[in-house]
């Protein structure tokens, strides 16, 4: 992590926090702050990625604007977080993707859909494209799906892994071993979103009032996403090992998982999108809104198009729905390491570092 204006600004706020410590009950950030007196750029990046943006500390802060010190930890850390995504991006030249992330994601989605549509039209007789009885693989051959999916998703996984490696080198612990209990604690923090809880009371969405809305919506989106992934994996197992090709009946595992997952994803993404428009702008960074909104919309589009595909799979609209759905997924796979999705990996890594540090005594207290 470079020493930047955003890092310096966040460090100034964090040093004020370290002299105050009133917020230490809210989340993992403040106990992590209390372990040190000096904050290298990597440490600031660690704290930035540890922050879940619940904003409890902003509303509780006696030094928040319009106080002359203007402490705004959620916004300061969000700026650093955004810079860190670019700083750790792999390969390096693609770091630019974070500069105009909303535009990039929108373009990728549009191109993804257009590409799949064009290819499926080109490779199909126009007749089967609108024939009710066509199977998915008449539209797009299975091998094509598998090759494209594996290549794009595989590259994205590699890029994200390299990103985490860069994060860990820069913002990871300087010593200590990754033990099983640290991993278990970090995993629980990731899966439960404990730190989106403001010490058990929830986030501050747009006022001093606490609310669990963001946490539940994120859970819906995240677990919905996992269910959809499980649906795809189950379908793959059925097809590859049980010799049972799609389409599957309504009460089969892939359809049930996908349907429930899709509905949860829609609820989560639309809910989170709606919150973007009612959030208090002060503890936020407006510049980052585009990428966030684009990603939420892409995820919503994946879920909606998947459910539409299920609904129309026995009709002539199947081919079109299929192409749109796969186009969205293609776009998602492509932009994965260059979107806000990377917060999942960096935050998990930051939580792991925090879990590894959990037994270190805070400085200055007793």
């Amino acid at each position: 992590m470079q020493e930047t204006e955003a890092v310096a600004r966040a460090r100034r706020d964090i040093e004020i926090c370290n002299a105050c410590r009133y917020c230490e009950g809210f989340c993992a950030v403040f106990p992590a702050v209390e372990l040190r007196r000096e904050f290298a750029a990597g440490d600031i990046s660690y704290l930035a990625n540890l922050c879940h943006n619940c904003r409890g500390c902003y509303y509780a802060c006696q030094y928040a604007p319009p106080h002359e010190w203007g402490v705004n930890v959620p916004a300061a850390l969000a700026e650093v977080r955004a810079e860190s995504y670019a700083a750790y991006a792999w390969p390096r030249p693609l770091a630019k993707a974070f500069a105009r992330n909303g535009t990039l994601l929108s373009l990728a989605a549009a191109l993804g859909i257009a590409l799949v549509l064009a290819l499926s039209i080109l490779t199909n007789r126009s007749a089967s494209f609108s024939t009710a009885q066509a199977s998915f693989y008449d539209i797009i051959p299975l091998w094509a799906m598998q090759v494209t999916g594996t290549a794009t998703f595989g590259f994205s996984l590699l890029a994200m892994a390299m990103g985490v490696r860069n994060f860990w080198r820069d913002a990871g612990p300087k010593h200590g071993r990754i033990g099983p209990s640290a991993v278990a604690i970090a995993l629980w923090d990731v899966l439960s979103l404990k730190n989106l809880g403001g010490g058990g009371n929830g986030c501050n969405d747009n006022s001093e009032a606490f609310s669990m809305r963001r946490r539940w919506l994120h859970h819906a989106m995240f677990y919905g996403f996992l269910l959809c992934f499980a649906a795809t994996a189950t379908g793959f197992v059925y097809h590859a090992f049980l010799d049972w090709p799609a389409p599957y009946p309504l009460l089969s595992a892939p359809v049930l998982l996908g349907t429930v997952g899709g509905i949860l994803m829609i609820a989560g993404t639309i809910g989170l999108l709606a919150m973007k428009f009612t959030d208090d702008p002060v503890p936020n960074v407006r510049r980052l809104l585009g990428g966030d909104v684009a990603l939420l919309m892409l995820l919503a589009l994946i879920a909606v198009s998947g459910l539409v595909l299920l609904a129309v799979r026995a009709t002539g609209a199947m081919g079109l729905a299929m192409a749109v759905h796969l186009g969205c997924i293609l776009a998602f796979f492509l932009v994965l390491p260059y979107s806000k999705m990377v917060h999942a990996t960096y935050r998990s890594a930051a939580l792991l570092r925090r879990a590894m540090e959990r037994n270190i005594k805070p400085l200055g207290g007793d």
């Binding site: 105050c20 009950g25 007196r37 006696q62 030094y63 001093e208």
Partner: protein, 466 residues
């Protein structure tokens, strides 16, 4: 603009913890309530926004307090810090009531930090608000709004017009415009006068120019003065205030907690002439920090300097300002604008006076002392010899004033003739001097504010209903 025509059951002057407890309690009892807060919304809450905890008696451990803290121990602590400058009946009533406030506070939205987490060092005696005092104030305002308490920000009570021991009308300014309001009862919860530098100057002279006011600039003592001018009985020494050692680089107002410095017990503290002037290690810091403001206020130029070495530096909470750091004592002295030769001499004689062979323990009174100095340092005395050296400039930081209005156990304000004012109550800093006439116990101000706020709210609502 149209004035407020209705006669309120209860008008609360002030917008901090005590005011909110009174307003919410009165509203819960069915009264119509108007709360008049002089600060704008962003700075609402008086000094409560800078607090963090509340001292509470309890018989056994609970979610927010460890072990037990009995009435007698609490009372002994209070007796010790006040030197008997308290009212035992009111104090014991407050102490007993402190054990029963949690349910009500939690219902009103206040959240607590679990004990045994973070860097809480008073987890046995004090319950810590999650997020601190501003979070508590936020919760109370949300609850007050939800219950239908009418809240005026940027509005100051100018005069409670007393006639024969009864408030007949209330003059306020509403966003700068004068208004007269009628209320059946009034609760005065508008704090002390420590932010009124002209008033402070009457007792402290131009030394106040070197004082830092730790809390809100809105505690100007307007209601307090207004009441004392109308024959309300005063309590507390008007010349006295709670003063701690602060980083001299603190802003004049509202610097809150982060400007305090806990370095004194592990340092050598000198005045601007380079002389030591008090035993830095007299007792554990929580029991001594509140005398250091006064000590520094009595030094030339109201400034002092805390000097320590690399051994001591990690032992205390950092202030918000970076320590001034140097590789030699002379260089440090120069950076602090002190006489290098004098500082060298003071530190040398200190180092030579440290009794050798002692074992240092920062977690207790370790008896590590100097011998033969005036004054000696009687605990945690170690030679200041390991570079780099660190220094902080210190100023007196004023937390609150002791002067207040006399009250009875129903929070009724008493007149100079000893009679209770018919419809005037008080809670919080404006009457804390009845119980805390001197010194301070961490978190006790919030206890007094909460207990008396609730009593005042209840009594005011009851009287307004009759």
């Amino acid at each position: 603009m149209p004035g407020r025509q209705q006669t309120y059951d209860v008008l609360v002057a002030g917008g901090g913890n005590a005011a909110l407890c009174a307003a919410i309690t009165a509203r819960q009892a069915g009264a119509s309530v108007l709360l008049v807060e002089s600060a704008p919304k962003a700075f609402r809450g008086g000094n409560s926004r800078h607090t963090r905890n509340l001292r509470a008696m309890h018989a056994q451990p609970n979610a927010v307090l460890t072990d037990a803290y009995t009435e007698d121990e609490y009372w002994d602590d209070l007796l010790r810090v006040t030197g008997g400058n308290t009212d035992e009946a009111l104090a014991r009533m407050t102490i007993r009531a402190s054990s029963g406030v949690f349910g009500w506070m939690q219902q009103a939205g206040v959240r607590f930090q679990p004990s045994l987490t973070g860097t809480l060092n008073l987890g046995r005696t004090n319950a810590f608000f999650l997020g601190g005092g501003k979070a508590l104030v936020n919760a109370y305002y949300l609850t007050a709004e939800r219950l239908g308490v009418e809240i005026l920000y940027d509005s100051e009570v100018i005069s409670l017009n007393l006639d024969d021991g009864t408030v007949r009308s209330i003059d306020i300014t509403y966003r700068g415009f004068p208004e007269t309001i009628y209320a059946r009862c009034v609760v005065a919860s508008s704090g002390g006068f420590q932010a009124n530098l002209d008033w402070m100057r009457e007792y402290w002279g131009d030394a106040v120019d070197n004082f830092v006011i730790r809390g809100t600039p809105y505690n100007r003592g307007r209601v307090l003065k207004n009441l004392l001018d109308q024959g309300v009985a005063a309590i507390g020494d008007p010349t006295q205030c709670h003063a701690v050692a602060l980083d001299a680089r603190a802003p004049k107002f509202d610097g809150g907690i982060t400007t305090r410095l806990d370095s004194v017990p592990y340092s050598v503290v000198v005045n601007r002439n380079g002389d030591r002037f008090y035993d830095e290690g007299e007792d554990v810091w929580p029991k001594r920090y509140a005398i250091w403001g006064r000590l520094i206020a009595q030094q030339p130029g109201q400034i002092a300097y805390s000097i320590c070495d690399a051994k001591a530096f990690p032992l205390f909470m950092p202030s918000v300002f970076p320590a001034i750091k140097a590789d030699t004592l002379e260089e440090l002295a120069a950076k602090l604008k002190l006489d290098p030769a004098k500082i060298r001499a003071t530190i040398d004689s200190f180092n030579n006076a440290v009794k050798p062979g002692q074992s240092f323990d920062n977690l207790k009174l370790d008896g590590n002392r100097t011998q033969g100095l005036t004054p000696d340092k009687t605990n945690w005395a170690r030679a200041v010899d390991k570079p780099p050296f660190y220094g902080y400039p210190l100023r007196p930081g004023i937390t609150f004033t002791y002067l207040g209005v006399r009250v009875n156990d129903k929070a009724q304000v008493l007149m100079e003739n000893g009679q209770a004012a018919g419809n005037l109550f008080a809670s919080g800093e404006i009457m804390a001097g009845n119980i805390l006439g001197k010194g301070y116990l961490a978190g006790f101000g919030m206890t007094i504010g909460t207990v008396f706020g609730r009593i005042a709210g209840q009594e005011a609502a009851r009287r307004a209903g009759n």
